[in-house]
Symmetry: C2
Subunit: 396 residues, 2 copies
């Protein structure tokens, strides 16, 4: 049994310094204003880069161990590129909308902006996020295991608005989105989703999209695996059937234990992870601490998160930050007390559909295990961090 309770006034009981006097600080005139601000020099973002033979491909991850709140800075949004970040001129780049539409059209970003726009806070998660945990590997920390997810405020035109403007022709069932990167990444999206909550986005956290995030415009498909949210969007082709592009035939399918692969498994299911404490961090003193983490679901709102300190024998419900945003990060917190014992810290989340985050055992039982990265997409299992007697935190 572990003590979740935190006594009154106890956060300072572990020996924070008594006051020697009023801290000194300089009285020289400070730095002037800036046209565009930057981080403090002492604050280095600790990014995890997996080695890549071609620098344009591969991923960068969001340093979730340092994340605060639910908004990811645009500068720290995860990246996953197949052929690098194209250099697109917003005055020349156009989005073509054609196929089974009444009035095909080509639009620049500024022309798109004239349409009614909305802003929504949503997470984006790579289908492959946390594949190492499915495979049973030990990770260096939460950035490596979960950092292929970020949460931003996205501004754009609802795709439904755009499709109603061009007019759908009989037989329209799918929308094939194609990117302006060299590899022409492309995915097919069922019309029902396209008319629901998909955005053609041009804004990110209050300013234009960053180049890495699809500038000058991208698709934003809330709750679905990240690769469907096609970046550097150049084409929306309305069709009667999926295009069976390379990215939905040779890639981004889920190989099952029987050797058959499932296509179009779009939704990212309910998931959570403790980010503090997490590997790389350390409990520096005994006494009260705060467990803090992130939860999300591609199917709607997170309704509950539990935390266990003893490897899943006992659980306690965490407090949720009161946002109630669907398909967005929800921050959860829970006070805990640590007196130098070994702990195994885990979280499990539920969403508004009633779905519970599964254990790894449940996922492996349903999906099997195989060599290599194939078959390990969409891993949303419960993760645990071990706290040693000296306060260090590690995985596995």
């Amino acid at each position: 049994m572990h003590d979740f309770s935190v006594g009154r006034r106890s956060f300072f009981a572990g020996g924070l310094g008594l006051v020697a006097g009023l801290p000194s600080s300089g009285r020289t005139l400070g730095e002037p204003r800036r046209a565009y601000g930057e981080r403090a020099p002492a604050e280095h973002a600790k990014r995890f880069f997996r080695a890549s033979a071609t620098p344009g491909t591969g991923t960068s991850r969001t340093p979730l161990q340092d994340a605060l709140g639910i908004i990811t800075p645009s500068s720290l949004h995860f990246e996953s590129h197949h052929s690098g970040v194209p250099d697109l001129d917003p005055a020349l780049h156009e989005l073509l909308v054609h196929g089974l539409v009444e009035r095909p059209i080509a639009l620049t970003r500024n022309e798109l902006r004239r349409l009614p726009t909305v802003a929504r806070i949503h997470f984006l998660e790579c289908a492959g996020n946390s594949w190492q945990l499915h495979a049973g590997k030990t990770v260096s920390g939460v950035q490596e295991s979960h950092g292929l997810i970020s949460c931003n405020e996205w501004t754009g035109v609802p795709l439904g608005t755009l499709l109603r403007e061009v007019g759908l022709r009989p037989g329209a069932r799918w929308v094939v989105a194609e990117g302006g990167d060299a590899s022409r990444h492309a995915r097919s999206i069922p019309l029902a989703k396209a008319m629901d909550d998909v955005l053609v986005a041009f804004g990110q956290n209050g300013e234009p999209l960053r180049p890495e995030q699809g500038y000058p415009m991208r698709l934003l498909v809330p709750g679905w695996e990240g690769n469907v949210s096609v970046k550097w969007l150049r084409r929306l082709h309305v069709t009667d059937a999926p295009a069976m592009t390379r990215d939905e035939a040779a890639k981004y399918t889920d190989l099952g234990p029987d050797g058959r692969a499932q296509q179009f498994s779009f939704e990212m299911e309910v998931k959570s992870v403790v980010v503090s404490p997490s590997p790389g961090g350390r409990l520096e003193r005994r006494g009260p601490h705060q467990v803090s983490g992130l939860a999300w679901s591609g199917l709607g709102r997170v309704t509950r998160v539990d935390v266990s300190l003893d490897g899943g024998s006992t659980w306690k419900e965490a407090a949720l930050e009161d946002r109630g945003l669907p398909k967005a990060f929800t921050r959860f917190t829970l006070p805990m007390r640590w007196e130098g014992e070994e702990l195994l810290v885990q979280s499990r989340a539920w969403d508004e559909t009633g779905a519970r985050q599964p254990t790894r055992e449940e996922l492996v039982s349903a999906r099997g295990l195989r060599e290599g990265p194939d078959g390990f997409d969409h891993y949303n299992g419960i993760t645990g961090w071990r706290i040693a007697r000296d306060g260090t935190v590690r995985h596995g």
Copy 2:
């Protein structure tokens, strides 16, 4: 009478180009990933800087004419400094909490972070925002008239948590907050507010505070005039009475028509402004457009925004983005149709207390007019932008 209705499919009726073919774009391998992203080179932030004899003092403003959604990028948060941005070492800078407390304490930012933290989306508005409109001046645009406001996600420790940890002594009624800038900017805050929703913040939009915004820690006093949210916080002195600092005696008081000044007029009342269209922009074609703007109230949630196109003769209720965040930006939108006539576009907002944004005439009647900037703080009047027959937008 003006036509707010927008016919189906009509956004493209004004003559966006027919499709010549699939747009071309390069197929060369793009740029590699970056450890910390930046804006696209083509996107220059248009900042308004008022000239200052000493570069450390003065203001920079948020370019609201380009704002998207409700989150202001940290790099574009408005600034108002009295003696520049101090260069504080987060390992050395400490916050002293003393006075009428049982256990005075000095805390670094990292020690502060061990306490339970919360994240909240709030606007910060300078008391002097929009003073030009009270004075009857014509402005170049919404950045000049309203840009001393921004809205961020702030992460920090509730001040109430911190004060309960140190224990209040009998007679504690006010908390005097002092900054670590050279001028030692300081304000007194009534204990009821300090125990309510004030944060000692160390995070901004998911990463550490920016230097201009108080790094490594600041006060964040939701809904109150910005100068109370003391940056570079170095001291919280619990007292039985306000300190009558220079910044609440010689400055930041509201001079009335009878020559008497009101102190401690903290709350920023309900206000709104149309940001699109706004001066500097232009309606480039006849037909449907979207009016978009921002509304906020220091007293809680925005409940309604109306838009007028004819200088206030007729009004129509705008749609509000469905966030319902108190003391935060609320984005409002309304479709409109423009056929080349002159328009005067205005917005008026209500908050959950039932308060309505006043007209300038109502404010001048209540507060009077005088020369110079004195007496013009807390202006929250209705603002109008004129659209000329050629589509250009201007003020006055």
